[in-house]
């Protein structure tokens, strides 16, 4: 711990004077007393635990190594009760507003008529699906499972970086991290009151059940996965197992008379709610991509007739479009008449000529993101880029300004990570998971993603990111 040299940004553990923040003091003592050798021993035990559990993800584009253990860090990240309260309230507010927004734009479009949002922004988004217009969605809930990306900037404030409203992943790493940490540092837990995250699967099942349109007591819920070659297959299997429901692939389902069935050893069984981990495009070859072999022909029609619930609904990606993101504060104000509790990161809309010219003039200082991409692909980090990359990006922006947004380069907060023999600062973010059913449920915790490469600001697992266990404290001691 002595060799730890914080960089000049908000440090989760140390205050600017180099003193451990009060909620990190016990952790500092614990690691100090543990000693380097014992720490290495625990790390190896934790490595084995992850490997043997098969906590893996799939990397695309690597033929030889399709399955990898998700990189993790063994120093937990601690969030105080007070910080969590604000996060929780902010997330509740946000998901409520975004659901109202989706319902509005797929029906009357009041927000467009009232000129809060430019119509072209919505209708030009490739995730806005005309097929969904006028569809009555079960319980009027569009987004029931969200993983919102938060970052803490150097002012110590949490900002929303991204709403993931389609098929957010990573919750299994939250669960696996905690499981391994409990085995690795049992005594450290006893020095804190850490809130449990184990109820996530139970909460998910209750949320999914509450969305069923049918009136029988025990609706049949399934998890729909693209299969074992999907990068998040481990997670799909884990959630199905913990909820005690079937993990189905497209080929296990069929639709007859707008009713969805699964093929079982005792014949066909009706399915009421589908937690689908398949993108919109692939869900039904009749309605969307005809070349999709993963989906279920006729599923969309069954959904439109209210015979089955899909979570999340289809076409929700329009609300987490990176250009639309800039308007979320207005969306919250419009539907809820409230100020946003969690602020947005400042975002430039590049279809606006004035903003675009400002961005292009300062391209070396800003981050430019493709609006349709996720997972850290299609992104330029100005200060870390070459002249050539900047020029290419500028040309792409001029050609299709709607496809990009720009944000200031954020100084993500840092936390200590054990890399090699020593503790070093690395940039982190936070992805809590929000469930929206008959009520809103947020499990206290989330996935803290870490940019494991020195100096890197990209935390995505596909780009060399890892994760750490996230502890939300039950109570703040004075």
């Amino acid at each position: 711990m002595n060799s730890y040299v914080p960089e000049k940004t908000y440090d989760e553990m140390f205050d600017p004077q180099g003193q451990a923040r009060p909620h990190y003091a016990s952790l500092q003592n614990f690691f100090g007393e543990l000693g380097a050798e014992e720490l290495q021993r625990r790390r190896r035990a934790a490595d084995l635990s992850f490997l043997h559990q098969g906590v893996t993800f799939t990397v695309y584009g690597h033929e030889d190594s399709t399955e990898k253990v998700f990189p993790y860090d063994i120093v937990p990240r601690i969030i105080t009760a007070r910080e969590w309260n604000q996060i929780e309230e902010g997330l509740k507010q946000r998901i409520t507003a975004l659901n109202l927004f989706l319902s509005d734009i797929y029906h009357v479009g009041k927000i467009i008529k009232d000129k809060v949002l430019p119509a072209h922004l919505i209708y030009s988004c490739r995730h806005y699906l005309r097929q969904m217009r006028g569809v009555k969605v079960p319980k009027n809930v569009y987004v029931s499972i969200v993983g919102t990306d938060l970052v803490r900037a150097d002012d110590g404030q949490f900002y929303v970086l991204e709403d993931n409203l389609r098929v957010p992943s990573g919750v299994s790493y939250m669960l696996a991290n905690r499981k391994v940490m409990r085995e690795t540092f049992p005594t450290l837990f006893s020095k804190y009151e850490v809130r449990s995250v184990d109820s996530y699967s139970q909460a998910l099942l209750m949320t999914l059940r509450s969305l069923s349109n049918l009136h029988h007591a025990e609706p049949t819920v399934v998890v729909l996965t693209p299969g074992i070659y999907n990068s998040a297959y481990y997670e799909h299997a884990l959630l199905a197992r913990e909820m005690g429901v079937q993990l189905v692939e497209g080929r296990d389902l069929l639709v007859h008379d707008n009713v969805v069935y699964m093929k079982t050893t005792s014949g066909l069984r009706r399915v009421d709610v589908i937690y689908r981990r398949l993108d919109d495009d692939f869900i039904d070859p009749l309605a969307f991509r005809p070349d999709s072999a993963l989906g279920v022909p006729g599923l969309f029609n069954a959904y439109r007739h209210g015979k089955v619930t899909l979570a999340n609904s289809i076409g929700t990606g329009v609300a987490d479009d990176k250009a639309l993101y800039a308007y979320v504060p207005q969306i919250i104000k419009y539907y809820l008449k409230q100020d946003p509790i969690l602020p947005n990161v400042q975002t430039y809309i590049l279809t606006d000529p004035k903003q675009r010219e400002h961005v292009l003039a300062n391209i070396d200082k800003l981050v430019i993101k493709a609006v349709g991409e996720s997972g850290g692909y299609g992104m330029l980090i100005g200060p870390h880029s070459t002249k050539k990359e900047q020029e290419e990006m500028a040309a792409a922006v001029r050609k299709e300004p709607r496809n990009f947004i720009a944000q200031p380069t954020l100084d993500l907060s840092q936390a200590p990570c054990q890399i090699g023999e020593s503790l070093v600062p690395r940039r982190i973010d936070l992805r809590p998971y929000v469930l929206y059913g008959e009520k809103i449920r947020i499990v206290p915790g989330g996935l803290t993603r870490v940019a494991l490469k020195e100096g890197s600001l990209v935390v995505n697992s596909s780009q060399g990111g890892g994760s750490k266990d996230t502890w939300v404290l039950a109570e703040d001691k004075q």
Partner: protein, 310 residues
């Protein structure tokens, strides 16, 4: 609702059971035969090598000697019949149904997979093959033990059992067929080897004494209904698993399958070793193997790849 099982999942569980059994059998036969061949003449060693490959259903495998055969059948990732490949397939099937098996089972099969693919185990195989087989077999037994002790006796378990006992029956048939054929003169060591390939040596001695001859071997390895690696016992287990499945799934079309397995059982229950040996042994094994294949097809038709009708 928890009684529901996807047909695809049943398929994977069934093959999981089969591959675990196959891996275990292959490792044991290699260990026993390679060990026994050490004290043989060159000529007999050659014959034993050919027999071993036949018993493992790889009569055409090109091998230089016992060591080479053992490597190809134990660790060669290119050979789909090797222990390593069987373990990989068992693990692949388990991976597809992780949510339906216990975490203990998954962790264990994943561990074996990582271990037989590691350079440490390859080294162990080179230097101390005995220890290698001992470890692999122990780890595989642990899979079966965990399957028995951590899973409810529901459909998932029964499908694994169907796979396991069907596979064991088939492997036993090939094993017996190979070693009971009078193609060359067999001695005490050969019979001993056959018993050990079925982990039956000690149990045999306790039941039938020290003298070894084909009649006694048939009596024990085929007709005994109490020993887990005997044909009769395996069929009883298969029959029980199938009947549990029929009632769990409330399948009304399982009559035909029930009839077939009942007939197979009957044939073993009332047979006498002298009659089997006196009759056409090859014909007996051939028919039995065809019956097993028919069981496999019927299980598929009933539970796994059935036709949808509205």
């Amino acid at each position: 609702m928890n009684n529901t099982m996807l047909s695809r999942v049943a398929d994977h569980l069934y093959w999981f059971g089969r591959y675990v059994e196959r891996a275990e059998h292959t490792a044991r036969v290699l260990n026993v035969q390679a060990h026994l061949a050490l004290e043989e003449s060159t000529e007999r060693r050659k014959r034993k090598l050919a027999d071993m490959l036949k018993a493992l259903r790889q009569p055409d495998l090109e091998v230089k000697d016992f060591e080479d055969a053992a490597y190809q059948m134990a660790l060669d990732p290119q050979n789909f019949a090797s222990v390593r490949s069987c373990v990989r397939m068992a693990r692949e099937n388990a991976r597809q149904v992780r949510e339906r098996i216990s975490s203990e089972m998954w962790t264990q099969i994943n561990r074996i997979h990582l271990s037989v693919s590691s350079s440490e185990q390859a080294e162990l195989f080179q230097n101390r093959p005995n220890q290698f087989y001992y470890e692999v077999l122990t780890e595989l037994h642990l899979v079966s033990g965990l399957t028995d002790s951590t899973v409810s006796r529901d459909q998932a378990w029964h499908f694994v059992q169907v796979g396991r006992w069907l596979e064991r029956s088939g492997l036993l048939v090939t094993l017996l067929e190979t070693y009971l054929q009078e193609s060359w003169e067999k001695n005490y060591l050969d019979w001993l080897g056959l018993l050990k390939c079925a982990t039956a040596f000690e149990a045999f001695r306790k039941t039938l004494g020290v003298e070894l001859n084909p009649i006694k071997l048939i009596d024990f390895l085929m007709l005994n209904d109490r020993f887990p690696h005997a044909l009769h016992f395996s069929l009883l287990q298969l029959r029980r698993a199938l009947s549990e499945l029929a009632s769990e799934t409330e399948n009304r079309k399982s009559k035909e399958l029930d009839r077939l397995v009942g007939k197979m059982h009957h044939d073993l229950e009332y047979a006498r070793a002298e009659e089997i040996l006196g009759g056409d042994l090859l014909e007996f094994f051939n028919r039995y193997r065809q019956d097993l294949m028919a069981v496999h097809s019927m299980v598929y038709g009933l539970y796994i790849s059935w036709e949808v009708e509205f």
